[in-house]
């Protein structure tokens, strides 16, 4: 046995939070762990996240274990989690007041192990050992969204993990900056690595973090790569903003196959693949009994809703995205996923025809920054009941387009003659009113006018 190296026993800091004075559970697990060779630093009652983490750091612990018998834990868990992540140590929470929903939510937030009223000692020991092993291997040093900054992480989006495609410039950049201000961990993707790094380096002194992944979104592996990056780094994924876009303009008579293919690949095929890969992941999570609380935001365009003059292929691709959002919403709702689309109006590389705006976003109604809060809201807890919707936003306006609606119905006679067709069709067309005019760059930016 001379070659055997005795492993240092697992070391765990245990206590309750706030004014939760029930210690039975904390005491029980402490004694059980000590019987199984753990080193337990028992802190008893009246702890704050700061104190638990400080002692864990000082004692070089592998895990912080919190026993809860009061709902106070809800107020402390995000801060505690952020502190544990910062230190690269695990967090386990247990207590009989934890409902199944609580347990799922804690796991989603990133707690490493959660034990409810049914947990057996053997199960707890097994799970805690797994965490010790992972921590020792350096795996759970995965920073949470909140670990990067010193700011408060409170807020509805804090700790969520979101993928943003096309994040280097324009709207994607504005979304990434806005989300990171709310404490979100953004997995930012773009094919332009330099611009992406420049965007990420501008994210400073905010509670959230940005992790960059350079990849062409039309690469069939791109969605898988993004998902794996999110899971490897943050252990979870709560949302996707499919924002990457490209513009190739030209009348139908002149648009090349190459441009057509690019437009369809970027807007339709890549978006579809992203939905398929993410949807399958969330479906598996839901099937495994974990609560999924995820949101997807796709990017359509007023061109896709109303048509844009001389942009038939772009308009058709964006129309496809709008309908994709509606059908995907229906398909994924059973797994806890919302899918919506926005039609943004902003001054970006793709809308150069809008010209230059004011230097400060506050003075420019077409600045991308004005669209970003809508994205943040759609990804947050307040929008859990919003799915399958298309929102048009920008230039100081927000609207929910009514979309294609059935018109007034007329009886269609069986085997109608051509003579009968004319008056019927004329009546039906007249009842629907004149067709909406296409959008044009000359008409400016407001499709509603």
């Amino acid at each position: 046995m001379t070659g055997a190296v005795a492993a240092r026993p697992g070391r765990i800091v245990i206590g309750t939070l706030g004014l939760d004075q029930h210690e039975v559970g904390a005491m029980a697990i402490s004694h059980a762990l000590m019987r199984h060779g753990y080193e337990v630093i028992y802190l008893g009652r009246f702890n704050t996240p700061e104190r638990l983490a400080a002692v864990a750091e000082q004692e070089d612990a592998d895990i912080v274990g919190v026993s809860v018998h009061s709902w106070e834990f809800v107020s402390y868990i995000d801060e505690l989690l952020a502190r544990c992540r910062e230190l690269g140590i695990g967090l386990a929470v247990g207590g009989s007041v934890l409902t199944r929903q609580d347990q799922a939510e804690l796991l989603t937030r990133g707690v490493d192990a959660v034990f409810g009223p049914y947990a057996s000692e053997a199960e707890m020991l097994g799970r805690l050992q797994e965490i010790v092993d992972r921590v020792r291997a350096g795996d759970t040093s995965a920073p949470s969204a909140a670990a990067g900054g010193s700011r408060s992480t409170a807020g509805p989006l804090a700790g969520r993990v979101v993928i943003v495609t096309g994040a280097a410039r324009g709207l994607g950049r504005a979304y990434t900056h806005e989300l990171s201000r709310h404490g979100v961990a953004v997995v930012a993707n773009d094919m332009d690595g330099d611009a992406l790094e420049e965007m990420a380096s501008a994210v400073r002194d905010v509670p959230g973090t940005v992790h960059t992944v350079v990849r062409d979104i039309t690469d069939p592996d791109a969605p898988r790569v993004l998902l794996e990056a999110a899971l490897r780094r943050y252990g979870q994924i709560h949302g996707v903003v499919s924002n990457a876009g490209v513009l190739r303009s030209g009348p139908i008579l002149r648009l090349t196959d190459e441009d057509l293919k690019l437009l369809l690949d970027v807007h339709v095929t890549a978006t579809f693949r992203l939905l398929r890969v993410m949807g399958n992941y969330w479906r598996a999570e839901a099937k495994a009994g974990r609560t999924v609380d995820a949101s997807v935001v796709l990017t359509t365009s007023s061109a896709g809703l109303y048509g844009f003059r001389a942009d038939a292929a772009y308009s058709a691709a964006k129309a496809a995205v709008a309908v994709l959002a509606r059908v995907a919403a229906d398909e994924m709702s059973r797994y806890g996923v919302t899918v919506n689309a926005i039609a943004p109006m902003a001054r970006t590389r793709m809308t150069r025809w809008l010209g230059d705006g004011a230097a400060s976003p506050a003075d420019d109604p077409l600045a991308a920054e004005h669209v970003a809060p809508v994205i943040a809201w759609l990804l947050g807890p307040d929008a859990r009941d919003v799915t399958g919707r298309v929102l048009e936003v920008g230039n100081s306006q927000l609207s929910v387009p009514r979309g294609w609606q059935p018109g007034e119905a007329f009886t269609l006679p069986p085997l109608m003659s051509l003579e009968a067709a004319s008056p019927l069709l004329r009546r039906a067309l007249a009842a629907s009113g004149p067709p909406r005019e296409l959008l044009t760059s000359e008409r400016g930016s407001d499709p509603q006018s």
């Binding site: 004014l19 004075q21 005491m27 697990i29 008893g44 009246f46 009223p117």
Partner: protein, 546 residues
């Protein structure tokens, strides 16, 4: 004859008393004088009901209090409308810790596990319209403030303090080591206990100012011998000190009540109550020289064990509560509260309250078990167990007293060790299956099939931030000068070991001081930081460093 072959497996009671397959005449009462009739010394068989009193009566009550004082007041009215004869009001975590709701550490907990109380107006709102002269109000709150609050809260209802009935939990020895920590040093805890009892004896003579609560100390897993030996030790210690102040034992003893636990070994729990009554009678008469028979007969109420309630299959808890309540009805207790079926999850919901009250009503009105006093008296087994428990409780007390004086034991953490060992023993027994619990380690169903009553049990309410804001916006409206003068008096009284604390505390509450401010001054008078969290953190860091 009881001579039988030894059993293959040694059966014991929950506390480990060896059991034989059956008991016979020589195990039972050898000398009836040491049992005595109901209403006669040594009160093994309990009190005799008052002439013309209601047969088999006990005070039925339920634990209550949630959210703001007004919301709890509505809850009280609902409980009384259901036929409750008493109310047991419990504070939320901040109130139990004598902290104000707007202290940063408190905000996440305000009103979620009890009522939030921190000022005179809160007590007035809590008690509005409650017929305090007809029902009993038991306080599971820091006692000095509970007594002061009820004293001040009754007058707006047109009721004089002299008419008040009910009880307040005095826990000077054990509160810091269990779940009633108020972050006060031992010396000041004991003085608050003694001063508030003396105050109540003078101002509220019908009120049980000394409720010895062995429920809360034992529900981490203490057995019946540990529970009652610690409880009777605390009674002895407090009585000695009150007598040393010149109060006659015959004024003190009738105002003592004991709130005990009831777990699932039902005969042992019944025997515990009978042994406790006998022990108490002897302590009062033989040790303290009480001559009034009312001083000898213990007033015992029960709160059935929350620890025996399981998160698995909550409907089973209704059965457990009914069995425990039946046993306690047969033991002849003066008051009874059943831990509700949702106990593992939350403070009681309205429906769980109703089930608990109805359980008591069914037992009292339909079963006839309490038609005669002490119906189990004379059972060979119960009498044998009563004798054995009395012996063991006495031996345990002698053992502890042999270890040193009580104050040293408290300050050295001896009792903390008793509590933590019991918690470990209990959880190990559950995990190993030595303690068999239906639905937990036997007859388990998968969580996904265990849904009945979970919707009620898992309902949850938010901290009452509105009440926090109410307190925050109220603070600046107080008159500063008289308030500061009153607080200074509290600080001064705390620093003077011979000063009375209740007078300054009542005056400070009348001047709109908060409980948090007053306890802060009590701490400062003892030379420790006013903010309890600074104080607690200091103590704990010392403990960690050891």
């Amino acid at each position: 004859m009881t001579g039988v072959a030894p059993q293959a497996v040694a059966a014991t009671t929950a506390s480990g008393i060896p059991l034989r397959p059956f008991y016979g005449p020589e195990d039972g009462v050898r000398d009836y004088a040491i049992v005595g009739d109901p209403g006669s010394y040594p009160f093994t068989r309990g009190r005799r009901r008052r002439p013309g009193g209601q047969a088999g009566g006990w005070i039925q009550r339920e634990l209550s209090g949630e959210g703001s004082p007004r919301r709890s007041n509505e809850q009280f009215h609902a409980l009384l409308a259901h036929g409750a004869l008493g109310i047991d009001v419990i504070g939320d975590n901040p109130t139990m810790s004598a902290l104000d709701p707007d202290h940063p550490i408190c905000i996440p907990a305000v009103g979620t596990t009890g009522v939030s109380l921190c000022r005179k107006q809160d007590f007035v709102e809590l008690l509005e319209g409650i017929p305090l002269d007809r029902i009993t109000l038991s306080h599971s709150l820091p006692a000095a403030f509970a007594i002061a609050g009820q004293y001040m809260g009754c007058r707006p209802n047109g009721i004089e303090p002299a008419a008040l009935r009910g009880s307040a939990i005095q826990a000077p020895l054990y509160s810091e080591d269990c779940s009633y920590s108020t972050f006060l040093p031992y010396a000041i805890r004991m003085r608050l206990c003694l001063d508030s009892i003396a105050f109540s004896l003078r101002e509220m003579p019908r009120f049980h100012a000394f409720l010895e609560d062995t429920y809360y100390i034992s529900d981490g897993g203490l057995d019946v011998v540990e529970e009652m030996s610690l409880g009777l030790l605390e009674i002895r210690e407090v009585c000695r000190r009150l007598i040393a102040r010149g109060l006659p034992i015959d004024a003190i003893a009738p105002r003592i009540a004991i709130l005990v636990n009831c777990r699932m070994d039902l005969f042992e729990e019944v025997a515990k109550i009978r042994a406790t009554r006998r022990f108490f009678a002897r302590m009062m008469r033989e040790e303290f020289g009480a001559t009034d028979p009312r001083s000898w007969s213990a007033n015992i109420a029960v709160h059935t064990s929350g620890l025996t309630m399981t998160a698995a299959q909550p409907s089973n808890n209704i059965v457990r509560g009914a069995l425990q309540a039946l046993a306690m009805a047969m033991a002849g207790v003066q008051g009874l509260e059943i831990s509700t079926f949702d106990e593992p999850f939350r403070t009681p919901s309205a429906i769980a309250h109703q089930v608990a009250i109805r359980t008591q009503q069914v037992i009292q009105t339909e079963t006839n078990v309490s038609a005669v006093e002490d119906p189990l008296g004379g059972s060979y087994y119960v009498e044998s167990l009563t004798d054995e428990l009395e012996r063991r409780i006495d031996a345990a007390m002698r053992h502890i007293e042999g270890l040193g004086d009580i104050q040293t034991l408290v300050e050295d953490g001896y009792f903390r060790g008793v509590f933590t060992n019991a918690m470990d023993r209990h959880s190990s027994a559950v995990q190993s299956g030595d303690l068999r619990i239906v639905g937990v380690n036997e007859h388990v169903v998968p969580p996904e099939d265990d849904t009945f009553l979970h919707d009620v049990a898992e309902e949850r309410f938010e901290p009452d931030h509105e009440h926090v804001e109410r307190i925050q916006s109220w603070r600046p409206s107080r008159r500063g000068a008289p308030l500061q003068a009153c607080l200074e008096r509290v600080r001064g009284a705390s620093a003077d070991a011979r000063a009375d604390l209740m007078g300054p505390i009542v005056a400070a509450l009348e001047a709109d001081a908060t409980i948090g401010e007053i306890t802060g001054c009590l701490r400062e008078g003892q030379g420790v930081p006013a903010d309890p969290f600074t104080y607690a953190a200091q103590r704990q860091l010392t403990a960690v460093a050891q």
